[in-house]
Amino acid sequence: MSRSLFEKVWDEHQVCAETDDTPAILYIDLHLVHEVTSPQAFSALDAKGLKVRRPDRTLATIDHSTPTLPFHKGMSPPYASDANAAQVERLYANTAHHRIELHGWESPHRGVVHVIGPELGATQPGMTIVCGDSHTATHGAFGALAFGIGTTEVGHVLATQCLLQRKPKSMRIHVSGQPGPGVSAKDIILAIIARIGIDGGTGHVIEYTGEAIEALDMEGRMTLCNMSIEAGARAGLIAPDQTTFDYLQGRPHAPSGAEWDEAVAHWSDLRSDPDAQFDKMVEINIDALKPVVTWGTAPDTGIAIDAQIPPPKTASDAKALDYMQLQAGQDIAGAKVDRVFIGSCTNSRLNDLRAAASVMKGRRIPASVTALVVPGSVIVKRQAEDEGLDKVFKAAGAEWREAGCSMCIAMNGDKGAPGELIVSTSNRNFEGRQGPGVRTVLASPAVAAAAAVTGQITDPAKLKQVAHA
């Protein structure tokens, strides 16, 4: 029987099939852990006297509660609060006690959990990957079945390496066409979410297919899969191909030698059969796509950067417009910007920073705007500095920070002030996500950089050419 990629990965990981009375038992290949959603799970384990069953399949990092301000070696990190510090310390204690690999302050691989998994080569095609974090779908870019779980389930995976799951439905989003200049994976996914809605993927695992997807590099694919949850989907994935294998080869956790060849042979079979059935199918063509920005307080409110804000269709739309202090019919371009955030597991990898730097290069951020550039990992930070991107950002007047989630979730002290309009490369524009009363506009790194240097929402293509020294 023909099967989709998702079904193949699912079937391969079923320890016990589901029955009417009980969900399937699904084996988990890789469990990613961070400080915010794990302490209660470890406590539950300790209370029952249970051990972590497969520390070798568990990987931990600190990212959400960690400050991004630089500090000297030997000093204690400048935590925003004692609670932030306690959370990080708890993960140190829990991972030491259970012998789990932790990428803490001293690790050269520390960073946002969804950035470092792929960077280490721990994320591999065909795996099942979970994390107490809804953006776990990022890892689906490699053809893994990766999804977010709650803290109770984190405890289940720690104790048994398995999860109780009912099989989700499947959905295929086929993306044809070629992106125009200045159009990135972020614009594609914002357009997809605008099309299918914030709940368009609820109950489903999305497979992204089509020439536009195949043409994306791994970083772009990660950006795309990352935001699957913003359409309500359990997971999003893309069949692995040569682009995937080239990215993985030689990474610390990736197989090597004969094992590599074996792995590639297996991974090459990981694709949906031509006549595989999906519960839902959507087709999108991106030939005419422009950079996309959001106007509302949900990620499905993306519109083209040269478009006008649409009239409210529901009471929620009207409330969102009111919160955003924007008017229906107004051009979204030109809206005044107070702050810019370039970072998060959606857009904090090297190519994202390159895109932002190419816009900021030779330009100055006006005094009325604060811009924060936060690399996704220590490795990304170093790579960016090797290329001199940090100098471009600093010369423009942006702050260049240490790796972490930062203002994506605003729980480490990095946040906006009430009423501020922030153009952000992160994934959620919910009310207060970047600080109480903050108004968030989601955008690509290039659009965010253009907003920084002009102080308003601006199509990067409309910036006047400057002579690059």
Binding site: V15, C16, D20, D21, T22, P23, I25, Y27, V36, T37, P39, Q40, S43, K48, S65, S81, A83, N84, A86, Q87, R90, G132, D133, S134, G148, I149, G150, T151, T152, E153, G155, H156, A159, T160, Q161, C162, L164, R166, P168, I198, D199, T202, G203, I229, G232, R234, A298, A315, S316, K319, A410, M411, P418, R428, F430, E431, G432, R433, P436, G437
Partner: protein
């Protein structure tokens, strides 16, 4: 975990769609390492302003979970972040069930595990409930029925294993652990 079924209460209606978990409990309150006492942060920024003072436009004003412990909301409740702190906060605040016509996946699963019943109502019942705040509601988990004073009753779906765990008050982890031989066999076969 609240364990007695059936139970009756009045509804409290929030007239909003897509209430995300950042609204249910803002991220800055996730710095805790425990799950107790989160009720004071439930819908915090809807209830309190930047200075911690009660807001005039608080959509939860008048909500007393002792008498209105069934939350009725617009479509797609609990979307966004996977934080289990959201059902923990709602339970600690005093809610025992959420009724909507659509509930986001991860929240749905987290809520059921903690005994905050996630109930998807048919359109007609949902529409009626949205228009009748304070309606008397009786929830029977065993028969999976919701009876509404002055309106029709309806049947709701719940994942059978989640239902079993709630009624028997058993921990699903125990079931997983009871399958350890199968898990080990699976690992050996793949090694």
């Amino acid at each position: 975990m609240p364990e007695t079924y059936p139970f009756s209460s009045r509804s409290f209606v929030l007239h909003q769609e897509n209430i995300d978990t950042d609204q249910i409990i803002p991220a800055r309150f996730l710095t805790t390492t425990s799950q107790a006492g989160l009720g004071r942060y439930a819908f915090h920024d809807w209830r309190f302003d930047g200075n911690g003072m009660p807001r005039n436009d608080n959509p939860l004003s008048g909500c007393d979970p002792h008498t209105t412990s069934i939350l009725v909301t617009g479509r797609n409740f609990g979307c966004g972040s996977s934080r289990e702190h959201a059902p923990w906060a709602l339970l600690d605040f005093g809610f025992r069930a959420v009724i909507s016509n659509e509930i986001a996946d991860i929240f749905h699963s987290n809520a059921a595990k903690n005994g905050l019943l996630p109930i998807i109502a048919p359109q007609s019942a949902h529409a009626w409930l949205m228009e009748h705040p304070g309606a008397g509601i009786h929830i029977d988990l065993e028969s999976q029925t919701v009876e509404i004073d002055g309106f029709d009753s309806f049947h709701f779906d719940i994942e059978p294993f989640a239902k079993h765990c709630l009624i028997e008050n058993t921990d699903p982890l125990g079931f997983l652990i009871s399958k350890m031989d199968e898990i080990k066999r699976y690992e050996e076969a793949r090694a």
